[in-house]
């Protein structure tokens, strides 16, 4: 049968040129016409084995752990897409480029259905849906959302969830066990007082403390956490600026003295990657960062990884109060073309978060703790040495992780202060002796007050 249908090449010479063109034309119409009709009936085929009706477009960062993106793009979203008859398209960009891209999409009213940022962006509240529906859907199945996530994405003034946080990264202290042992502080940085006493000795050995005071995200996080350990807060529970206090003066003096006795001036020039680089190069004895430092060391330098310890933020006069390092927040635009599936996607992702937690190598802690069963057991199971190193992340996430703007909610004013680097600026000016701690506390209180007044006028605080 097949042989009969096959064109006999020897007979081609007998065909006229016109006949040949006619037959070829008819063949083309048959083949493409057939395919076209099929396409009209079912939509363009997206997958080899199955056609999907809808499309969901997501923009998010290139995860620090590449394995997470592989799992998210190639496993999770594909499986979810097949189950929900939706093609999920995920675009990744560098985290530093996200704010500008998000602003462009918001202004244009076009782009992805949802975007994920590393910190909540309350300023876009009017451009996103109320994510309450997602929160409720997950709460019904997994119980309450963690307080740190709730305070990061909810505006009590407008009663709106301006984002949906799927996860956050606890922010431990990374320290070199061998360096600290050399100077007689084998217990590590248990309190800020210990850090201050160990710092001159570590510096003497060319192993400075690394707490950034630069225009970058890690400096913001580390310094705001340091402030809270000393009882200094940017705002009150009722969202009033509370910077000009004795506690702020105290923490500024502490940071200045710590810089002079135990750090090098490179901290003023840091980028977001610098503390990782400094630690991995063997220079720093301590850095405040998420688990990106030990995870990188595990890939490139086993010996260094074994000597790298993680611990909760050191205890200060006001106890231990740290920040999340990343509050991974999805925002579904109110102009999204596929809002319905965006909402379902996020609810489904959060409800079964085990894959995300494991593939991010414990970087992504679920915003709804019950979405990942047995977190302490999973942390203890990590095979890297020293064994059980990551168990402490459970304690940090449970006890010492607060939102940016604690004890209040994260809001647009906090966002602007964060993004214009006013807190690192204040610390750096004092550390370099350009202002006294008292002047700095007074002056920055006034500057922050202007920003709060502006956002209050806009009805967002």
């Amino acid at each position: 049968m097949a042989d009969k249908e096959r064109v006999d090449v020897s007979k081609l010479d007998e065909l006229s040129r016109r006949d040949l063109i006619k037959r070829a034309g008819a063949g083309v119409i048959l083949v493409y016409g057939g395919l076209g009709a099929h396409g009209v009936a079912y939509g363009a085929p997206k997958y080899r084995q199955k056609e999907l009706a809808g499309t969901l477009r997501i923009l998010q960062w290139s995860h620090f752990v590449p394995a997470y993106d592989k799992w998210f793009d190639n496993v999770y979203t594909k499986a979810w897409g097949r189950a929900n008859d939706t093609e999920v398209i995920v675009d990744h960009i560098n985290q530093a480029d996200l704010p500008a891209r998000v602003a462009a999409e918001a202004a244009a009213g076009r782009g992805h259905d949802m975007v994920a940022t590393l910190a909540p962006l309350p300023q876009y509240e009017d451009r996103v849906i109320n994510h309450k529906e997602i929160v409720q859907a997950v709460t019904r199945k997994r119980g309450k959302m963690k307080d740190v996530a709730y305070r990061s994405c909810y505006n009590p003034k407008t009663k709106k969830y301006f984002g949906f946080p799927d996860s956050y990264a606890p922010d431990p202290v990374n320290w070199r066990r061998d360096y600290w042992q050399e100077v007689g502080f084998g217990g590590g940085p248990t309190s800020w007082d210990v850090v201050k006493r160990a710092a001159p000795k570590l510096r003497e050995n060319n192993r400075p403390i690394g707490i950034g005071m630069s225009n970058e995200i890690d400096s913001n996080m580390a310094l705001m956490a340091l402030m809270m350990c000393f009882g200094s807060f940017i705002q009150s529970r009722g969202h009033r600026v509370t910077l000009n206090t004795k506690k702020t003066v105290e923490v500024l003096k502490f940071a200045r003295d710590l810089f002079r006795s135990g750090m090098s001036n490179e901290i003023f020039a840091w980028t977001a990657a610098s503390n990782n680089q400094g630690f991995l190069a063997g220079r720093l004895s301590l850095a405040l960062n998420a688990i990106s430092i030990p995870r990188s060391a595990e890939l490139s330098n086993r010996d260094l990884a074994d000597k790298t310890m993680i611990a909760p933020i050191p205890k200060g006069p006001n106890g231990r109060l740290g920040l999340e390092h990343v509050m991974h927040t999805y925002m579904v635009w109110n102009f999204a073309e596929n809002k319905r599936m965006a909402v379902k996607f996020l609810a489904d992702l959060e409800t079964k978060y085990v894959g995300a937690f494991e593939n991010s190598k414990f970087y992504n802690f679920p915003a709804f703790p019950k979405s990942v069963p047995n977190i302490p057991v999973r942390l203890a199971r990590d095979s890297n040495t020293p064994k059980g190193k990551y168990k402490v992340l459970g304690t940090i996430s449970e006890k010492y992780t607060k939102n940016v703007g604690y004890p209040g909610f994260t809001n647009a004013a906090i966002g602007e202060i964060f993004d214009t680097y006013l807190i690192p600026q204040m610390f750096a000016e004092v550390a370099q002796g350009r202002r006294t701690p008292e002047e700095a506390a007074r002056d920055y209180h006034a500057r922050l007050g202007t920003i709060y007044a502006k956002w209050r006028r806009r009805g967002k605080i």
Partner: protein
């Protein structure tokens, strides 16, 4: 017959229209004018409107606040520093550009071996995309891995523990930003200077020689006056390129240390886009407008002058 005559008339009218200087000039310049109106005029008007509102990130409008954004910006010390830096970066970098470009261009007019290779190498910084080349500079000035510091440390010229922080000390960081601005604009100025030098008639050179003008004297009395109009063009372009650029500061320092290297462009970005106060960001950027208007008027006047001569 009548139809044929009518179509002939239409053709003639069309041909006459194309011969008309007024029509042709308008037709030819229209696409450029349209382009400028849509891509420059439109956004400029939008920025003016936004600067008078309390617009927030992601919106293109807000409540009318008059000149509040301009006043708020002026009261902010970071803004005033950004304004000062914009002027400082522009003036100092352009002084360096003029000096270096003049020297290089003169050197390149002399018969030296490998002149074409030298010209190619000098042009390279201009050909490379600004973000890429600035990332290169970021590594040169890096806080930990700076190649400059590495060399200086090997030669025991700097403190081994605390070497100079090119991007961490306000004065050094200002110098670093200026040096990168100058580095990227020098090639452009060199090309313009070379064109200017090539346009000096050889008779003038010969006459100067006969009159005994050589070396510095010849440069001062002959070459410099003849080159001045073209140097001014290079200067004006350089001012625009530097004052309106935010890439260098954004990549090199993010405005740090402690916002001491912010320019108006970068501060507008951090306030308006990153911080979400779009109206205030627009106001910050519009402070540049008077400077740019002056430069644009000067450019047009010089262009006309060159055209007349």
């Amino acid at each position: 017959m009548a139809t044929v005559a009518a179509s002939g008339r239409t053709r003639r009218r069309r041909r006459n229209l194309l011969e008309s200087r007024r029509f042709l000039a308008t037709a030819l310049i229209a696409p450029a004018v349209l382009f400028i109106l849509v891509l420059v005029g439109g956004p400029l008007l939008l920025a003016m409107y936004l600067s008078l509102t309390d617009a927030v990130g992601g919106t293109l409008g807000g409540e009318w606040v008059g000149f509040d954004n301009f006043l708020n910006a002026w009261r902010d010390p970071n803004f005033r520093r950004a304004l000062r830096n914009t002027l400082l970066f522009t003036i100092v970098s352009q002084a360096i550009v003029l000096l270096c470009a003049g020297l290089i261009a003169h050197a390149l007019t002399r018969p030296i071996r490998g002149k074409w290779l030298l010209r190619f190498l000098i042009i390279l910084p201009w050909a490379a995309p600004v973000p890429l080349s600035t990332i290169g500079w970021l590594w040169i000035y890096d806080s930990l891995f700076s190649v400059v510091n590495w060399v200086a440390k090997q030669l025991h010229l700097v403190d081994q523990f605390n070497p100079p922080q090119w991007l961490g000390d306000p004065t050094l960081a200002l110098g670093a930003v200026i040096s990168v601005h100058a580095w990227r604009i020098i090639p452009f100025a060199v090309v313009i200077f070379l064109a200017g030098l090539a346009s000096i008639p050889s008779e003038v050179e010969d006459a100067a020689k006969v009159d005994g003008a050589v070396g510095l004297k010849k440069f001062w009395y002959v070459t410099l006056p003849l080159q001045l109009p073209i140097a001014t063009v290079a200067l004006l372009f350089g001012i625009v390129f530097t004052a309106t650029d935010m890439t260098v500061v954004y990549i090199l320092t993010q405005g740090g240390p402690f916002n001491s290297t912010q320019m108006l462009t970068s501060w507008a970005f951090f306030t308006g886009i990153r911080g979400g106060s779009l109206g205030e960001g627009a106001a910050v950027s519009l402070y540049l407008l008077p400077l740019l208007v002056v430069v644009a008027v000067l450019m047009l006047r010089f262009a006309r002058k060159v055209e007349v001569t």
